[in-house]
């Protein structure tokens, strides 16, 4: 029996940020039923609960990959070069909303949005400017792009081609995860089934043409930012992963031909141990799903690799320097959870896109964890902790319960059509907001320890010159390119979209003919229509 002394606990509920009750003490009692080789095992061993590499970070540190993008391609190119010079070792592109939504800068809905939340990429010309002086054969690039992922990826490949890089050696990631857009971030264009086809087209294209590319980054980040609990983030993300693999298999692909190139992307939120348990449970769940549900034979198909970003939603506009501390703790959780790459948010991101100084401090936070804290020396240092192992098992159990519900609905596409994950997240986010309102959950500087008369910090202000510049460039492009070649390429794309061929090949031709993102997306809108969600509150 677990013996706990009768000391009085502070008068508040002890729950995680997700509302999970936490006991006063965890002991061997809590791990009764845990089978070491089945549930935990050693690092590098199935089910990889303790990590996918036997050597942890002793062999290789995580990639410090800072998400960046704003204004014109030239401005972002400068930021990239600055980050690489400061010791960052991978690029990560943030696109503006018109690019993310497949709209050109001259579309009505682009008004006021060009270059604001990321870099504006209109055609191959902009992609050439974005990567000018950066060798795509040597660097790895992550691109946060979803609905127009095939178009942007085609542009990247065209730039690599111009630079003389071999597609077979190119490495990087496109997010390309449309299901979480329907669930959480809402940057969708086409209906779910046509969107899924674009993704399986990329799986097939990359298996033969760009074999080292990570074709999808199945993302829990946005699900969590939308207000889910940690367990919901885990469950919906992995169930999305299952959906992608199932669609790939249904499209006739051998599971081991594309599954090793699937990667994941999680949030690292403020509840330290709950997050670590989530990362550990994710690896275990995926290994079992791939081996047992999909019968994958290649061990690389079993290993869940993931990127992490600290929780943007946890950043406060009040007392923004506190955000440095929040981010450091969240980054530490990601490292103790065994992430393969990491983005740390900047202290000013509740207010605006980060300044160069704030972005550098965020990168330094990772470097301090990597080189000064000592946490990278031993692999999975929390493995065997009664508390962490118990939480890991609980996370796994909760995720499996959600898998069952979604399987019964017929899959994630069907669950989304029913609004199921959307409703679950909306409930959780409202519950959390109420806990903040009642001060059951304390947010320092917001609902407690409030400070009047704060001194404002410098922020990055994006003016309208980007929009003007991108608009005038677009006008010139439309007058100077070979428009007959362009029209033929767009027609070929539509023809393929109506049939069953792989859309990536005609897209490459469109891109080389300097089609804009808006023109390519419009071509597919003509054939497939657009998705509209039923608003739920």
């Amino acid at each position: 029996m677990k013996s706990v002394t009768a000391a009085i606990d502070r008068d508040k509920p002890f729950t995680t940020i997700s509302g999970r009750p936490i006991e006063r003490l965890y002991t061997a009692e809590d791990l009764r039923g845990l089978d070491h080789s089945r549930d935990v095992n050693e690092p590098g061993q199935f089910p990889y609960t303790r990590g996918i590499h036997a050597t942890g970070y002793r062999g290789k540190l995580w990639t410090m990959r800072q998400f960046a993008g704003f204004g014109t391609p030239e401005e972002t190119n400068q930021r990239f070069k600055g980050l690489l010079k400061a010791g960052g070792n991978g690029l990560s592109v943030a696109f503006d909303l018109p690019t993310l939504m497949g709209r050109d800068p001259d579309h009505e809905l682009s008004l006021g949005e060009v270059g604001k939340c990321g870099v504006s990429i209109v055609s191959l010309q902009d992609m050439e400017r974005l990567f000018a002086g950066i060798d795509l054969g040597r660097i790895t690039t992550s691109m946060t792009i979803n609905s127009p992922a095939p178009m942007i990826f085609a542009m990247y490949l065209a730039v690599a081609e111009q630079q003389g890089a071999d597609w077979k050696t190119l490495s990087g990631t496109i997010q390309n995860d449309i299901l979480k857009e329907f669930i959480a971030q809402k940057e969708y264009i086409f209906p779910p089934r046509q969107s899924m086809r674009l993704i399986t087209d990329i799986f097939a294209f990359c298996a033969t043409e760009v074999p080292k590319w990570n074709t999808i980054s199945v993302s829990g980040y946005h699900i969590r930012e939308a207000g889910s609990t940690a367990a919901q983030e885990l469950a919906f993300t992995l169930r999305d992963g299952i959906e992608y693999v199932q669609y790939g298999v249904d499209a006739g692909l051998d599971v081991d031909s594309f599954a090793p190139q699937i990667s994941f992307f999680f949030n690292s939120h403020s509840d330290f141990f709950e997050e670590i348990a989530k990362f550990r449970a994710a690896r275990k769940l995926w290994a079992e799903v791939m081996r047992d549900r999909f019968k994958a034979k290649n061990e690389r198909s079993w290993k869940l690799r993931f990127h992490t970003q600290t929780a943007g939603v946890s950043l406060t506009a009040q007392q923004p320097y506190n955000n440095v501390v929040r981010t450091a703790l969240q980054a530490l959780a990601a490292v103790l959870g065994g992430t393969q790459s990491l983005h740390t948010n900047s202290l000013d991101e509740a207010l605006a896109l980060p300044t160069a100084e704030a972005a550098t401090l965020a990168l330094r936070t990772q470097q301090i964890i990597a080189h000064e804290s000592g946490v990278t020396a031993a692999v999975d240092p929390l493995g065997g902790s009664y508390f962490v192992e118990r939480l890991t098992l609980d996370m796994e159990r909760e995720a499996k319960a959600y898998f069952d519900v979604i399987d019964r609905m017929g899959g994630m596409v069907e669950a989304i059509e029913h609004g199921f994950p959307q409703k679950e997240i909306a409930e959780a986010s409202y519950r959390f907001q109420q806990a903040v309102e009642s001060r059951e959950k304390v947010i320092v500087g917001v609902n407690d320890y409030v400070q009047e008369d704060e001194t404002p910090i410098p922020i990055l202000y994006i003016d309208e010159t980007t929009a003007e510049r991108q608009l005038s460039r677009l006008e010139t492009l439309r007058q100077t390119r070979d428009n007959a070649r362009l029209r033929a390429a767009l027609d070929a794309l539509k023809e393929t979209a109506r049939g069953t061929g792989n859309t990536m090949y005609p897209l490459m031709d469109c891109v080389r003919a300097y089609a804009t993102v808006g023109e390519m997306c419009d071509a597919l809108r003509d054939v497939w229509g657009e998705y509209e969600e039923v608003p739920l509150i």
């Binding site: 909303l97 207000g227 506009a317 309102e437």
Partner: protein, 134 residues
């Protein structure tokens, strides 16, 4: 007393609707009649919804930085349609320098990240136009 009628809208291209949905629900729980327009509403659609729904309040959630384009257009259209007495509130990421400009064009409430829901509810109750008793 008739319920206060609120149109909650998400203008622009941004799809991050957590704030809009949480506040819609909080206002509804506070006894208001809430109409949520959903995503990607143009100023015309927002003012159209306010007219059609006989709204007392328009609440817009804007995080993308497009507020200085969207708000002037909404205020202009409200004036054109004779809806100048509709209370307009905006929530989201609004740089300090833009706050006086928004107030000047007639946006009465501006709520930044971390604003308590109760503060928004109280603001609406205190500032909404009086509604005729039925």
């Amino acid at each position: 007393m008739q319920k206060i009628r609120v149109v909650i809208a998400k203008p622009g291209l941004d799809g991050h609707d957590r704030g809009a949905k949480v506040i819609a629900r909080a206002l509804r729980d506070a006894g208001m009649e809430v109409i949520y327009t959903g995503l990607r509403q143009t100023p015309d659609q927002i003012v159209g919804a306010a007219l059609q729904e006989d709204a007392d309040v328009i609440g817009m959630s804007i995080l993308s930085g497009a507020h200085m384009h969207i708000c002037p257009r909404v205020m202009e259209l409200l004036k054109e349609k004779g809806l100048d007495d509709v209370l307009v509130v905006v929530g989201g990421i609004i740089p300090d320098v833009d706050i006086p400009k928004l107030r000047e064009m007639g946006v009465r409430g501006i709520f930044l990240p971390g604003s308590p829901m109760q503060q928004i509810i109280d603001f609406i109750n205190q500032n909404v136009r009086p509604r005729a008793e039925v």
